[in-house]
């Protein structure tokens, strides 16, 4: 899952670039052409793409952790296999996106080190807890669902290696989303306890899903470099509107109630009430809703979410624990013996 909508790539206006080359570059972008790593591009674009792909890669491998906790507890053989394969896919996405970033000039080892020492970030959504099996269902339905909507638009971007990777990733996301739908449908048509589990998990994930697309856009977002250069192609608010229009009515039909919630420091819901702003505007066809708590969003991004420390610590443990293995094959005599 994941996506880089809320990476907040800050790209400086490239004042010191050769204006002729710059014009040619922007003409290529406007013509819908794909850029390749060896093409001329402004320094700011290269740095911005690296930052975006690296953030996305980080998000994939951190995103493997909350669901990874449930592989050993999945309640049937089929679900156990599917969840393992799903988390494995996320690792694969991370691998492919690190490759895009490596080709932009940064080593994977350095990216992993920057991630686990807090120098670079990953997607905010993975700083929330997944305390029940219901969360696994909701993550795969809502968050992978949001990721697909986002990544589909990223596949319309301009940077060739990233676009091609998005296309490959989206094929796998389709499986994640379908298996998420299957789990949500099973829970919500199950026993009273299962439906309650589903509702409680939904209450935990609905707002993180809305925040998934990033904060409200700056004015004239379309003219700022990330969109002008087709690093992203749709604004955060537009993506969020599409998401709500698709998922709010589906949730209602599943028998879920959409709540505005208050959470404690561990990300658990302590208060909830129906979202009174939630309704379909017949004239525009859009659903209105109560905005997420953006203060919470920035608090979590700054490192104070319920699971920030836990996610980083486990990823760091994995890195440190694997040191001797990587060292043996990088520096040691770890070739295979000659064939007999």
């Amino acid at each position: 899952m994941s996506g880089s909508a809320n990476v907040g790539v800050h790209v400086d206006h490239a004042r010191d670039e050769d204006p002729a080359k710059m014009a040619e570059f922007e003409a290529k972008i406007n013509a819908g052409e794909l850029l390749e790593p060896d093409d001329w591009m402004p320094q700011a674009y290269r740095q911005g793409m690296l930052k975006m792909a690296e953030h996305h890669a980080n998000s994939e491998i951190i995103g493997a952790l909350p669901e990874g906790e449930w592989i050993t507890r999945a309640p049937s053989l089929r679900r156990k296999l599917a969840l393992t394969a799903k988390v494995q896919d996320e690792v694969g996405h991370g691998q492919m996106l690190y490759r895009v970033s490596q080709d932009l000039g940064k080593s994977r080892d350095q990216m992993l080190r920057d991630l686990i020492t807090g120098r670079t970030k990953y997607h905010n959504v993975f700083n929330y807890p997944a305390p029940t099996w219901g969360d696994i269902a909701m993550i795969q339905w809502l968050i992978d669902g949001a990721a697909i909507m986002n990544q589909k638009t990223l596949a319309d971007g301009a940077y060739g290696p990233y676009v091609r990777t998005m296309k490959r990733i989206n094929m796998e996301e389709a499986f994640h989303f379908k298996s998420g739908e299957d789990m949500v449908l099973t829970l919500m048509s199950g026993t009273k306890m299962q439906r309650q589990m589903g509702q409680e998990a939904f209450d935990r994930w609905w707002y993180p899903a809305l925040m998934f697309f990033g904060p409200p856009d700056k004015p004239h977002a379309e003219q700022l470099p990330p969109m002008r250069w087709r690093m992203k192609t749709v604004t955060n608010d537009n993506l969020r509107r599409r998401f709500i229009n698709r998922f709010a009515p589906a949730a209602i039909d599943l028998g879920l109630k959409i709540h505005v919630v208050k959470k404690d420091d561990n990300g658990m819901v302590i208060e909830r009430k129906p979202d009174e702003n939630l309704r379909l505007d017949e004239t525009t066809g859009n659903w209105s809703f109560t905005q997420p708590d953006w203060d919470e969003f920035y608090r979590v991004i700054r490192g104070n979410g319920p699971c920030n420390a836990k996610r980083l610590a486990l990823r760091r443990f994995s890195y440190e624990q694997g040191r001797w293995v990587r060292h043996a094959i990088l520096r040691g005599n770890a070739g295979l013996p000659p064939a007999a």
Partner: protein, 259 residues
């Protein structure tokens, strides 16, 4: 197809349970590495191997379920510890030590390849067909794990020491895989579990020692000792009950529900 005489049904189910339970526990342990392995590419590869083990278990449980009238999920999630037939080595946790995970897989994959090849000659056609297909996948596992033994055994002093330590620790319980199930000799006599062409323990020991030698590692294997066996008759190590509690945590919330 010959129908199995009634007195062999239970032993046959036990034999297949031993195969399936070994694979489920091994796959369960290994799948926990998904997202945490030392290299991203190997994370993906090792997870595929774990999925294979669990998928093999599922296919076997389906056969057994047909034989004794239950479901694959009920076999995997609905039994008490003493009804499992797995061996001590697959119950052993690895605490995310890569050397332990690889060595455990090394002992088990070589054993499983031999066991499945034997089952592939079974007079029971459905089991023989399935075992034949699974043995082909086991071959991929053996090649994968052998190359890790060799690379890490030969890598650096540190990697060799870590591998040697894990190998020694597991070599003490690995032969538990060979503990026979109850009434196994009757299954052998009826050709349902045909006799191995050469002594299975010797073959296994030779294969493993060969790879260990290529890997600058020492390996000393002895036939199973009475202290390490019991798993095939439902007497398990202290690691199995907590493993099952974890594995069945959600299932047990509502055992009759669909999940």
């Amino acid at each position: 197809m010959i129908t199995l005489p009634d007195n062999l049904k239970r032993p046959f189910a036990d034999l297949l349970l031993a195969v399936a339970d070994d694979k489920l526990m091994l796959g369960h342990r290994n799948s926990d590495w998904t997202g945490l392995a030392p290299i991203l590419e190997e994370d993906i590869a090792f997870s595929s191997l774990a999925q294979d083990e669990m998928a093999h278990a599922q296919a076997l449980y389906q056969l057994i379920a047909g034989l004794i009238g239950t479901s694959a999920d009920a076999l995997a999630f609905g039994r008490k510890s003493e009804a499992f037939r797995c061996a001590a080595i697959v119950e052993a946790p690895d605490e995310f030590d890569w050397a332990t995970a690889i060595c455990r897989q090394f002992f088990c994959d070589h054993f499983d390849r031999l066991r499945l090849r034997r089952l592939a000659r079974s007079s029971d056609k459905p089991v023989a067909d399935l075992a034949n297909r699974l043995a082909a996948e086991e071959q991929i596992h053996v090649e994968h794990v052998d190359s890790w033994m060799q690379r890490l055994g030969r890598g650096t002093d540190e990697s060799r020491q870590r591998m040697q330590k894990a190998l020694d620790r597991l070599a003490a319980i690995a032969p538990s895989l060979f503990e026979p199930i109850e009434h196994e000799h009757e299954l052998v006599a009826a050709d349902v579990y045909p006799r191995a062409e050469t002594d299975m323990f010797e073959t296994w020991r030779n294969e493993l020692e060969q790879i260990a030698n290529d890997s600058s590692l020492k390996l000393d294997l002895h036939p199973p000792s009475p202290q390490t066996i019991g798993g095939r008759r439902g007497k398990h190590t202290e690691h199995l009950p907590p493993l099952l509690d974890e594995m069945c945590e959600v299932y047990r919330l509502e055992p009759n529900a669909a999940w």
